[in-house]
Symmetry: C2
Subunit: 219 residues, 2 copies
Amino acid sequence: MTLRGRKKGEAVPQGVVARLPVYFRYLSELEAADIERVSSAQLGEALDFTAAQIRSDLSYFGSFGQQGYGYNVKDLLQQVKNILGLDRTYSMVLVGAGNLGKAIASYESFRTRGFEVTAIFDIDPLLIGNHHGGCVIRPYQELGHFLKKTPVDIGIIATPKRSSQEVCDLLVKSGVTSIWNFSPAHLVVDDHVIVEHMHLTDSLLRLAFRMNEQLMTRS
Amino acid sequence: MTLRGRKKGEAVPQGVVARLPVYFRYLSELEAADIERVSSAQLGEALDFTAAQIRSDLSYFGSFGQQGYGYNVKDLLQQVKNILGLDRTYSMVLVGAGNLGKAIASYESFRTRGFEVTAIFDIDPLLIGNHHGGCVIRPYQELGHFLKKTPVDIGIIATPKRSSQEVCDLLVKSGVTSIWNFSPAHLVVDDHVIVEHMHLTDSLLRLAFRMNEQLMTRS
């Protein structure tokens, strides 16, 4: 059912991928509020997208809506969950137990969505043995051995920039092909490896740009 | 100089805005490595964009490159800095001193880019008086009063979802018109307020989507 209607190998545009979690989040709120149906116009107004954009986005994955009725919230949410791959669970290792790493390990809503940090690694001897989010921090030197015995779905990199490529290489060498990168580095990986970047500084710079753009276009 | 060549009021496409920090980061690395010039082809290869896309992106802000020479790294970096508004400094308040808030307050590279957290606020009496990133944590009840005396450029929201809209409303009421939102909430604001979202879960869901897309298109 998932991805039907698209040709094999045809990638979904980045813009559509970026908006899928937004649909997921809002539809979850509607379901929690016992709302049964929603139109593309209502979705658009709530999320600042046009109704046409919403219909176009969702059409990538099949035809869900009905003319004059809109979307059934429960059904559409289930479809979006399937599309996002939330019908399964994911295990993750986290490398780097600084402030950001600790925040990630303790972030409750990852676990409720089916994403579980199963082990944390750091190079600092003072941190080894501490617990975060129910996980003990292990020595980085054991990462390769750990992954041989316990394959995981996702590797999270929350190390300083200078270590992140080395950590990435070890993760990939140990069979991890999906990387969630919080370090401010552009990682070099083979084509089969998926990297999702979470660059805090990039986001802050985009904010600064929009502030200045607003000043310039008003002046 | 900045924004020249565009019509007044004409917004730069989101995709271009999203790539500007990537140019900034890479050009900074080139400058640090004493590299004097770079072609759009080289930029494209390093950043996984096409050369045409890079020329098109940069053309939004004027014409920098020279046929057959490429770009002078120092000049282009300076232009990108101007475009991003990095020719000035920004003061920020941070609301929410949990793990994520602490990580943000201690993140060194914000300060080196000119973004300084000047005050941290939290509602938890046990946190008040603690220091992070050189700032003392103050009672949330004092936020409005603080902002009246000390206007800031950016308000950072790192609170739980249930409080984030209330915090946002108080920030805006107190004159803050640029919000950097780390809470997993869709904030409702007036048109003049700029909100940059940093949704961790959305990023994780995009990673999951791409993992599943890869599985589906290969099967």
